[in-house]
Symmetry: C2
Subunit: 135 residues, 2 copies
């Protein structure tokens, strides 16, 4: 995954030339992109925006997610330090998930994306219709 002399932050690398890029920056972009690219991750982060939530409550909120994907996605978010998992040793068991400060900080760029989506949706739909009409 190399972009020549440009990266996804939009900054142009100083001494950039053919084959000379910033591998660390590339890794950073990639891992975050993979996380944000994952639709369940984004949905979960936004579902956890207002506060802690239990497993099954999350399952209800994020309609359509399977138990398996909910578990896997939460694990991934926890591993990345975006979500904190708290187990209460009660019967029946209770597990709360909540955003860490890092998780909260991710909301900003995600919401920026959400706003862009909403603001330009009509535009995109129109473009699609026009494109399809030509085929």
């Amino acid at each position: 995954m190399e972009l020549g002399h440009t990266d996804v932050t939009g900054t142009v690398q100083e001494g950039a030339r053919e084959g000379n890029h910033n591998p660390k920056r590339c890794d950073a972009i990639n891992s975050v992109l993979n996380r944000v690219g994952d639709k369940w991750s984004v949905l979960l982060v936004m579902s956890l925006a207002q506060g802690p939530c239990r497993f099954n409550e999350l399952k209800r909120r994020v309609d359509g997610i399977s138990q398996r994907m909910l578990t896997l996605t939460l694990r991934g978010l926890e591993r990345d330090g975006l979500v904190k998992r708290t187990v209460y040793a009660t019967i029946p068991p209770r597990v709360d998930y909540e955003l860490t400060p890092l998780g909260h900080s991710l909301r900003e760029p995600i919401e920026a994306l959400g706003h862009w989506a909403f603001d330009h949706y009509e535009c995109i739909v129109a473009a699609r219709a026009e494109f399809d009409a030509k085929q």
Copy 2:
């Protein structure tokens, strides 16, 4: 894909209650998320940031992309109105791709994401190491 009373723009819906969400907003979020979630799309948008570019030049810039995916991704971006395709009837043929104003506007939220990624990368790597150590 429903979020109960929250959506990815972070705004809380006015009269939101169980099962009452904004389907149009959901569609908008989804289609944009799918596009941004697609790693090649993001990479291509950023590769086209500085100006028009030919097919094979793009293939060289976005290292690792297959011809097939380059074609398909460019088609998708063109269909969404993010990229403009210009064919020059020369021999050999020449096709230029460039961002539309809409495509350029998408750079902002993408770059915001890129900056977040870079700024918090160390943090994420550390979290992962800690998480993995506990297993």
